[in-house]
């Protein structure tokens, strides 16, 4: 099965599903967006009073990306159990961020973005380094989701690559633009439910048709390495995955915006619950990759293993289920990226850097403009089609893993200082990129996080600086 060959789903059915879910997301998003006071905090942070259910679900839905439904089965297919485990370990990023989330909520009750924290804690120079890293990561992430949308919808339903990409970005942009963070979080709840329920249905049906003992004996006979619990590459990928995810979560405004949007009493629990719930998703989708391997299913495009398996086992119904899961995964991640990145640009660049005298109305207007601008830039960057997205993902790992310790230490250590944070981010990024190029892409985050930890530790211990955490309580 190649991306250009026969689609799994009749285009008419696919268009029907797209129309139904697009209308639903936009209608709900616009409706929810009308609630609340209508000020900038309402638009950017949904009123700062989100409860446990919505907070947990939005973390889940944002973290279930197109990659989780495509790359995790590929990991299972290529590296077996450790492929699944290593992808699932990305959930550790959310779980380990939980105590930091509570600390952020305590230290910055009026904060809006991760950039706010870096600027107030380490100053403007560190902020520039941090913003460069987050910009590269965010555009890489946006591109992988946009290109994933084009490629997936083409493979599943025969849509033209550009049409599929335009539809997904367009729908996510419309409801994010009109409903703000409240629309993003509200639709995330339904999207996370859809993703989890439909994945469970696909997995249960798949293993009913091809039972687990049969899968195990086939793997034992033909691919015993996939069942090896001491697979060296698997162990390294697992470490990399955990550290990469920590870098993604600790620095990116997707997760910081959820901290500021949630009630203080639920913020820690939502990150723990969201992380634990999320971990089951790549394990389940990864196990589908194992079934494909056991069945010796011919695959020309390994990242299509999940749709191929679903269509092979469950026919057109299976293809329709996968289509809905993928559409929900892509829109739930894209809306979060658009909203939180627009907040970051509006708050940190427009308001704090260029127009500190801007009114609340102007700030909200700027955030809306940023949503549209980001969507257009993403469309432009993703227009040329690239078939390999994994390399883009691993490349950014070398950068974001270097931010873990400057963020974590900055929240707890008074002695953490600007020079150490800048040196940690730069040295970690450089060693990570070297490891990416000279050793292997999947070890970049390990090197980056290790060196930046060392630099941050030494730089903080040798410093006589003592930061006053009260300085983080800036007026919104």
């Amino acid at each position: 099965m190649t991306i250009d060959s026969t689609p799994f789903l009749a285009p008419g059915v696919a268009w029907g599903l797209v129309v139904i879910f697009s209308v639903l997301w936009i209608a709900l998003g616009v409706t929810w967006g009308r609630r609340g006071k209508g000020d900038a905090d309402e638009y950017m942070l949904a009123g700062r009073n989100i409860g446990l259910a919505l907070s947990t679900a939005t973390l889940m839905a944002s973290w279930v990306t197109g990659n989780t439904t495509l790359l995790a089965p590929e990991f299972g297919y290529r590296t077996g159990l450790w492929g699944m485990f290593s992808y699932a370990l990305a959930g550790l990023g959310l779980i380990l961020f939980a105590p930091l989330a509570l600390r952020i909520k305590q230290l910055m009750p009026s904060g809006r973005t991760s950039g706010d924290f870096i600027r107030l804690r380490y100053g403007r120079l560190a902020w520039w380094v941090f913003m460069l890293i987050t910009a590269i990561y965010t555009f890489g992430f946006l591109m992988t989701q946009a290109m994933g949308a084009g490629l997936l919808l083409q493979a599943l339903s025969g849509f033209d690559y550009h049409v599929g990409m335009f539809v997904v970005i367009g729908v996510a942009t419309v409801y994010t633009l009109f409903g703000g963070m409240r629309a993003v979080i509200g639709t995330d709840f339904i999207q996370s439910m859809l993703i989890m329920v439909l994945l469970a249905v696909v997995a249960v049906l798949a293993f009913r048709l091809f039972p687990m003992p049969a899968v195990h004996s086939q793997l034992m006979e033909h691919h015993p390495d996939r069942l090896n619990l001491l697979l060296p590459a698997g162990l390294l990928i697992a470490w990399n995955s955990a550290l990469f995810s920590m870098g993604e979560v600790f620095h990116n405004n997707i997760w910081w915006s959820r901290v500021f949007a949630s009630r203080r009493s639920v913020v820690m629990n939502s990150f723990v619950l969201g992380g634990v719930a999320w971990m089951s998703v790549p394990l389940v989708t990864g196990s589908i990759g194992l079934v494909a391997l056991a069945r010796e299913l011919p695959l020309e495009q390994i990242n299509m293993v999940f749709p191929v398996m679903a269509a092979d086992l469950l026919g057109a119904g299976g293809a329709a289920l996968v289509f809905v899961v993928v559409f929900a995964s892509l829109t739930s991640t894209l809306d979060s990226l658009l909203a939180s990145t627009a907040d970051l640009l509006a708050e940190d660049v427009y308001f704090r850097l260029f127009r500190p005298q801007a009114t609340d109305v102007q700030l909200k207007h700027a955030a809306k403009l940023m949503v549209v601008a980001l969507a257009l830039v993403t469309l432009l960057l993703s227009w040329p089609r690239l078939d390999s997205l994994a390399s883009v993902l691993f490349f950014t790992g070398s950068l974001v893993a270097s931010t873990v310790w400057p963020v974590a230490c900055g929240l707890y250590w008074r002695s953490a200082n600007a020079a150490a944070a800048i040196a940690a981010m730069l040295s970690g990024s450089i060693i990570g990129l070297l490891a990416y190029n000279l050793i292997a892409p999947y070890c970049a985050a390990v090197f980056s996080a290790a060196l930046s930890a060392l630099v941050m530790l030494i730089g903080s211990r040798c410093s006589s600086d003592r930061f006053d955490f009260a300085l983080l309580q800036e007026e919104a």
């Binding site: 409860g51 619990l229 196990s287």
Partner: protein, 49 residues
């Protein structure tokens, strides 16, 4: 080049293989139920948003 000896391989048996896969499916199902339950409790108390 050092060859990794085969004795380092630890292969998971059929029982544990099933435990891992069934456990992940159970965890996924449980997540849905718990999340819906929390949503219902918060919705009844008017504490969703």
């Amino acid at each position: 080049m050092t060859m990794v000896p085969n004795t380092l391989a630890v292969l998971i048996d059929a029982t544990w293989f099933s435990v891992v896969l069934l456990g992940s499916q159970f965890a996924l199902g449980l997540s849905v139920i718990v999340l819906l339950l929390i949503w219902w409790v918060e919705w009844r108390a008017g504490r969703l948003w």
